[in-house]
């Protein structure tokens, strides 16, 4: 018979390390249905009949954040057989806050007191027996990082689950509060199950909006309950939510005073604090951050990364795989066109993104280390001020940063953003930051129009950043994304050396996700693209054709008119853009193929005439660049976004938004820019461009309804 054990605890308490320890690699990662919250479960090593359900790291079971709601719904409705509550021993008070709430659920609980190695190092001592007595449940000291105590924990948890060992719930609430809750319990005892009685009573006392909604009691019952609450509030001179929170912490304070002895004085500087004296120092913080990021990219991209990527492209594929497959196929007598499909179309097409994978792995590796050691929280802390201006928080910075390497892990990184609206907004805008695969296009266009300027790439990054800012401001004002900004109350966890295994699992998870996408979606698209680019109907017959007559050019020609106002209404430019849909590196390779130049890596002046057919004017090339940099990302990123978004509606909105945005921007660049430099004549399209510009400015500066409403709330509170 299967046993389900849930893992609950604060963020940064070592839950993930414990989960990895307990399940090995037998994990399944997905999303909780309909939301952007990651869902992880796995089977316990050595106990195949035990399923471990990892719950999101949460500080409380309030109704306000997605993670908390997802967790409480799971615990109340799906009732696991036992809960392992992980507590950070160096941070006991705040961790126990969640514990008091978990203990109200009438599910067997075993507490894993983690970080015991650090507790000992600090010289603190925790009387486990006393603590266990007070809380009413078993406590197992562990050190997940050092793999201490794991066996005992597993044994206790399974035992608790099998025997349904319920805790003797501690008496957290006192006096009139306890009275009021008891009254409420009496009033609702026939409406809810015995198991959840306590939980619901406390939540009703807090006027928990989700519980009220779920229970849907009739008015008379609600009024009766309200009466009890009001009486208590009057007596305690505080609102019910605050009363509960205060009492919980008062209780915890007591418990901790009795069982924990601390060596250091309160507020004394820990090692982490000493490190932070430098890292978040007023003057040194930003330079240090810049240096760290520079090093990460220098190693992963510029030096080591490029070496491995070039080797993968030139040697592995270019010198070994492609020729080998070519010879092999020739040897068995396959036809020329089929060989071309396999060697050039498929293998050639896949070589670019796969060659990119080593660089990505390196970037993920370093960023994982930075995340796991605690540095990223400091980054969010430092950057928050900037992001607050556009309705986001410092936590959004990390995905934007990662985007400069690749959009796929960036979208995945937005999981750490708590507010779902912010999370979605970050996912939609993060690909505006040019990724590594977009660099070839920038280089080629820069070469084409100005003989290659070194400032072209930085300028496009800058444009990307501005576009992100503009988009966020505009989106925040729409009803879809408006709302009170999420509270930015964030813990700065102690620095610790990340577990090597945790980092490698992280990196592997991301690289594998990318490779899976390459092996499937990109593979399919390469075949399709190759087919469309090599076959066509010429003189009434179907067969292999020259580039001008292939299906791709037919499609290109058919939709080229859409891009005429943007200046590049040629089928070659359109076809190249289409291939950008699959992989952004594909834009340049398609351009090369269509210009009859074969595989194109960078730009050389000899290419000028070949590309001139694509872009009638220089400004058209610029507009082409803008369009391809800011439209929807490559298929790998699109499918990542589909998975992480958790909602079809938002996914399609994202695609629509990105493509409409890039179209409008390209239009404005071509029409207004072209008008300014005299290349483009004034016409109806110009008028449209100006209207769009006006519209954009309006959207940027229009008053934010929700913000003004909030200001009033703040003023009301301060008064």
């Amino acid at each position: 018979m299967e046993i389900k054990i849930a893992l609950a605890g604060n963020p940064n308490c070592g839950k993930t390390t414990l989960f990895n320890d307990l399940t090995g690699s037998a994990q399944y990662v997905g999303n909780w249905p309909g939301v952007t919250v990651e869902k992880k479960d796995g089977r316990m090593k050595n106990h195949k009949d035990v399923v471990i359900q990892d719950l999101p790291g949460i500080y409380s079971l309030s109704p306000y954040t997605l993670e908390e709601v997802v967790t409480r719904n799971y615990l109340v409705n799906e009732k696991p057989d036992a809960i392992i509550n992980i507590i950070d021993g160096t941070n006991i008070e705040r961790n126990l806050y969640l514990t008091t709430q978990i203990l109200e659920l009438n599910i067997p609980v075993v507490i894993a007191l983690n970080m015991m190695d650090l507790v000992r190092k600090n010289g603190d001592s925790i009387d486990i027996k006393k603590l266990s007595n007070q809380l009413g449940c078993k406590i197992v000291p562990i050190s997940a990082l050092k793999s201490e105590g794991g066996q005992e924990l597993v044994a206790e948890a399974i035992d608790a689950a099998k025997n349904n060992r319920l805790a003797e719930p501690p008496h957290v609430f006192k006096g009139s509060v306890e009275h009021a809750i008891a009254h409420i319990e009496e009033s609702i005892e026939h409406e809810v199950s015995r198991d959840n009685l306590r939980w619901y009573a406390v939540k009703l006392f807090e006027r928990d909006e989700k519980v009220v909604e779920d229970l849907a009691f009739d008015d008379s019952l609600m009024r009766h309950i309200e009466m009890h609450i009001k009486d208590c509030e009057k007596e305690m001179d505080d609102d019910s939510e605050s009363i509960i929170t205060n009492q919980r912490y008062a209780y915890i304070q007591n418990v901790v005073d009795l069982s924990v002895v601390r060596k250091k004085a309160r507020g004394a500087l820990s090692i982490s604090d000493k490190i932070d004296k430098i890292v978040t120092n007023r003057i040194l913080a930003l330079p240090i951050f810049a240096v760290i990021m520079f090093l990460v990219y220098y190693i992963s991209v510029t030096t080591l990364g490029t070496v491995v990527t070039d080797w993968t492209n030139d040697t592995l594929f270019g010198a070994w795989i492609q020729p080998a497959v070519q010879h092999g196929l020739e040897a068995i007598g396959a036809s020329g066109w089929l060989i071309s499909l396999i060697v050039n179309g498929i293998i050639g097409g896949l070589a670019a993104p796969i060659g990119f994978a080593p660089q990505m792995a390196l970037v993920f590796f370093f960023l994982s280390i930075l995340e796991d050691c605690g540095y990223m929280a400091r980054v969010a802390f430092i950057m928050d001020r900037i992001f607050r201006r556009f309705g986001l928080s410092g936590k959004s910075f990390i995905p934007f940063l990662i985007s400069s390497g690749c959009g796929v892990p960036a979208i995945m990184a937005s999981r750490t953003i708590e507010n779902e609206k912010d999370r979605r907004m970050t996912m939609i805008t993060t690909t505006f930051i040019p990724c590594g695969a977009k660099l070839p296009v920038i280089a080629v266009i820069a070469g084409f129009i100005m003989g290659g300027a070194w400032w072209a790439a930085p300028m496009m990054y800058f444009a990307g950043i501005i576009l992100v800012i503009i988009s966020c401001i505009i989106l925040k004002k729409t009803r879809m994304f408006a709302g009170k900004p999420a509270p930015f109350v964030m813990e700065l966890p102690q620095y610790h050396i990340p577990s090597g295994r945790g980092v490698l699992i992280h990196v592997w998870e991301r690289v594998w996700a990318f490779l899976k996408k390459a092996g499937t979606i990109l593979f399919l698209c390469c075949v399709v693209m190759w087919f469309l680019g090599s076959f066509g109907i010429h003189n009434g017959a179907f067969g292999l054709v020259d580039s001008e007559n292939c299906f791709l050019s037919d499609i290109g020609n058919a939709i080229a008119w859409i891009f005429v106002p943007l200046g590049f209404g040629t089928w070659q430019a359109v076809a190249s853009s289409l291939s950008g849909f699959v992989a952004k590196e594909g834009i340049v390779s398609t351009m090369g193929v269509l210009a009859g130049l074969g595989d194109v890596g960078g730009y050389t002046s000899s290419m000028h005439n070949a590309f001139a057919a694509f872009f009638p004017t220089s400004i058209a090339a610029v507009s082409f660049l803008f369009f391809n940099l800011f439209d929807s990302p490559c298929l790998a990123a699109i499918s990542t976004m589909a998975k992480e978004m958790g909602s079809r509606k938002f996914f399609w909105f994202a695609i629509l938004f990105q493509n409409v945005m890039s179209y409008c921007i390209a239009l404005m660049v071509y029409q207004i820019g072209g008008l300014a430099i005299g290349t483009v004549a004034f016409g109806p399209a110009t008028i449209v461009a100006f209207i769009l510009l006006a519209g954009l400015i309006y959207l940027l500066f229009k008053p934010d309804r929700s913000k003004t409403a909030q200001l009033k709330v703040h003023e009301g509170a301060a008064a």
């Binding site: 500080y59 409380s60 309030s62 306000y64 954040t65 160096t90 941070n91 006991i92 008070e93 705040r94 806050y97 505080d238 609102d239 939510e241 605050s242 929170t245 205060n246 912490y249 008062a250 601390r262 309160r266 507020g267 982490s272 604090d273 932070d276 978040t280 120092n281 007023r282 003057i283 913080a285 930003l286 929280a377 802390f381 430092i382 950057m383 928050d384 001020r385 900037i386 607050r388 009170k484 999420a486 509270p487 930015f488 109350v489 964030m490 813990e491 700065l492 966890p493 102690q494 709330v713 703040h714 509170a717 301060a718």
Partner: protein, 73 residues
């Protein structure tokens, strides 16, 4: 009325009351900033906001605008 926003770096203060309502207030309290809790103002972020506090044995970052909701003595 003295709020956390007015406190200086290095000062240790005690929380008297949290004003406001809704998610922000709840979050502030959930993190341990409750009546009677001792708070040490550790530092201010390089760009001027948010502020880093030491409360209940750990480091917490709070925006100045939200710190205004926390009354202290």
């Amino acid at each position: 009325m003295n709020t956390l926003k007015d406190a200086k770096v290095g000062e240790t203060v005690m929380i008297k009351k949290i004003t406001g309502s809704g998610p922000t207030k709840r979050r502030i309290m959930d993190m341990g900033m409750t009546k009677g809790a001792e708070v040490l103002i550790r530092k201010v972020a390089p760009l001027g906001d948010p502020i880093e506090l030491h409360v209940r044995g750990y480091e917490l970052s709070v925006r100045k605008a939200d710190a205004e909701l926390i009354e202290i003595e």
